[in-house]
């Protein structure tokens, strides 16, 4: 049947294969976005408080060790974490082999963001997927040598409260011990304080931290993530939602076009099915013929294309290579649904 109707078969198979490819690529992007949004959700659930720095005189701050130790203590009790995204090792061009870094302080981070698959037990570091081949054995912070022990999965993205999704593919991600915090350069230390994220803090804790920083000239305005973050990230969520809706719309159109074409073909084949039934074809024979045609149109070529795509995504280190597998699963379910529908249609006309 598929051979006899080869122009239809070829056109439908090509159309569906193309749609599957586009969907796979779109899904790769959506899955990355979803990981970021999940990070945001974790922080909301922990009633996280973040800070916006405010510099009234444009002067460099000099926060006292007491406040830094206060933050250290919170981090060690897993009631806070902090990061340094931009200012680490600015005075050393060879720091981390010249690669950009993300320095993380806090054992709570792997618990908040398990998808990141960070290295276990600080101090340790991991390289981004796209600098995997480069030989960086260790990084040194305040005289502490931190070994680079693993490579992060491709497409790993850190949810940073300041910049939302921070891609890690080209960064060295360092889990530093809190004991180095007081030993950091002033700019590094200032960023670490300004980026502090307090988890389930009481008002007294927030007050103590903010006033300690203010005494050193670093004025921090606290924000509760649960209240402000939804507004702040509304745009990102809207974009993601639009993307998903657009993709679903596209999928729906392709599905509708395919279902109507397939059913039209089945109707044209009705006479052939009747003749076959007349001469002894059982319901199983008819089901197999329909299944064979649908598999040739909507399953086998697409599964081959998607398998090749999975291999390609794995080889190029693209994020979320499993996206093509999800599309494959959707395709198999569509095939089963359509097969059932077509067999029912044909049998109903007996």
């Amino acid at each position: 049947m598929a051979l006899r109707r080869w122009p239809t078969t070829l056109a439908l198979a090509g159309m569906i294969a193309l749609a599957c490819m586009v969907l796979s690529f779109a899904l790769v992007d959506v899955l990355s976005q979803v990981a970021v949004l999940r990070g945001a959700k974790q922080l909301r659930e922990r009633h996280a408080v973040i800070f916006t720095p405010y510099y009234p005189h444009g002067e460099r701050s000099s926060v006292g060790d007491d406040t830094v130790k206060y933050l250290m203590n919170l981090i060690d009790r897993q009631k806070a974490y902090t990061t340094i995204v931009f200012n680490m090792g600015l005075d050393d061009p060879n720091f981390a082999g010249g690669h950009r870094t993300l320095v993380l302080f806090g054992d709570v981070i792997p618990k908040l963001f398990p998808d990141l698959q960070l290295c276990n037990r600080a101090p340790c570091a991991a390289r981004g997927a796209k600098i995997a081949g480069q030989n960086i054995d260790s990084v040194s912070i305040a005289g502490e040598s931190i070994p680079v022990v693993k490579t992060l999965p491709a497409g790993a993205t850190f949810f940073d409260v300041g910049v939302a999704g921070l891609p890690l593919d080209r960064r060295i991600v360092i889990r530093a011990p809190t004991k180095v915090l007081p030993l950091l350069q002033p700019t590094e230390r200032e960023e670490a304080l300004a980026r502090a994220v307090l988890l389930d803090p009481s008002e007294a804790v927030v007050d103590a931290f903010v006033s300690g920083c203010a005494q050193g000239g670093l004025f921090l305005v606290p924000h509760e993530v649960a209240i402000e973050q939804p507004q702040k990230f509304r745009k990102i969520m809207m974009t993601s939602a639009m993307y998903i809706v657009g993709m679903l719309g596209f999928l729906g159109l392709v599905f509708a076009a395919f279902v109507s074409s397939a059913r039209l073909t089945m109707r044209q084949e009705n006479r052939a099915f009747k003749i076959r039934q007349m001469y002894g074809a059982t319901p199983i024979h008819i089901s197999l013929r329909i299944g064979g045609f649908l598999a040739a149109v909507a399953l086998v070529p697409q599964v081959i294309v998607l398998s090749l795509l999975v291999v390609f995504l794995l080889m190029t280190g693209a994020p979320a290579p499993g996206a093509a597998l999800w599309v494959m699963l959707a395709l198999i379910l569509t095939f089963v649904f359509l097969w059932f529908l077509s067999v029912r249609d044909v049998r109903a006309q007996e």
Binding site: R4, R5, R271, I275, R276, Q277, M278, Y279, G280, P283
Partner: protein, 224 residues
């Protein structure tokens, strides 16, 4: 002569409620081996429906069909096996599959035969039966390229390829011109020589007169 096909008090109702149509009403008949029977009646009298019920294509609403002394039940797989082994069908509208070769059209009953003949045997039987109906030359032709008369010959070849016991022909010459219709009739009557019974549904006197027995059907009821 031995009775090979029998209908006992067969009725067939289509639809339900106010839309109910009783196409066949309590028909009983029997057909013997090698017999040619004409089923005559106006359009809508239930001839085609009775043929479909006798040929196990439709199930009777009431009554039963008996083949070689055994009642045919509701088991679809048994019915399919009997359709393949016992019957050949010829329709008014040359029921053939377009965009398929003549050979593959004729081979269809052999595909579902049990045991299924080998590929070589299928081919040789197909070639033989096509030669018998005068279409040996059209083996590899696409069925859609043939004329009406040639298509009907393909349908006859397909009906005969599995050596059926009964051939059911529903208005086989209705869509053909006079000369071609007579050629097709001659061919259909020759089926008797193979030992098979032939049951024609027709409203054409000239066709009916060539049969051994004529049954009249009016409003779903039968009378000799």
């Amino acid at each position: 002569m031995k009775t090979i096909l029998e209908a006992r008090n067969v009725s067939k109702v289509y639809g339900s409620g106010r839309m109910q149509v009783m196409a066949v009403r309590g028909v009983s008949l029997s057909i013997s081996a090698g017999e040619c029977v004409a089923l005559m009646g106006p359009s809508g009298s239930g001839k085609s429906t009775l043929l479909r019920v006798l040929g196990l294509i439709s199930r009777p609403t009431e009554g039963s069909v008996i083949i070689q002394g055994e009642e045919v039940g509701d088991d679809e797989y048994r019915r399919a096996r009997l359709r393949n082994k016992f019957f050949g069908y010829i329709h008014q509208e040359f029921a053939i599959i377009e965009n398929e070769t003549v050979e593959r059209n004729v081979m269809i009953p052999l595909q579902y035969a049990n045991p299924k003949p080998g590929r070589q045997e299928c081919r040789s039987r197909t070639r033989l039966v096509l030669e018998q109906v005068g279409l040996g030359w059209a083996l590899k032709k696409n069925a859609s390229q043939l004329s009406g008369g040639e298509r009907q010959r393909v349908a006859i070849a397909r009906a005969l390829v599995n050596d059926p016991v009964v051939v059911l022909a529903d208005e086989p010459t209705a869509a053909l011109d006079g000369k071609t219709a007579q050629e097709i009739m001659t061919l259909l009557l020759s089926i008797k020589e193979r030992g098979a019974a032939v049951l024609f549904a027709t409203h054409d006197d000239r066709v009916a007169k060539q049969c051994d027995r004529i049954l009249h059907m009016i409003d779903g009821r039968l009378g000799e």
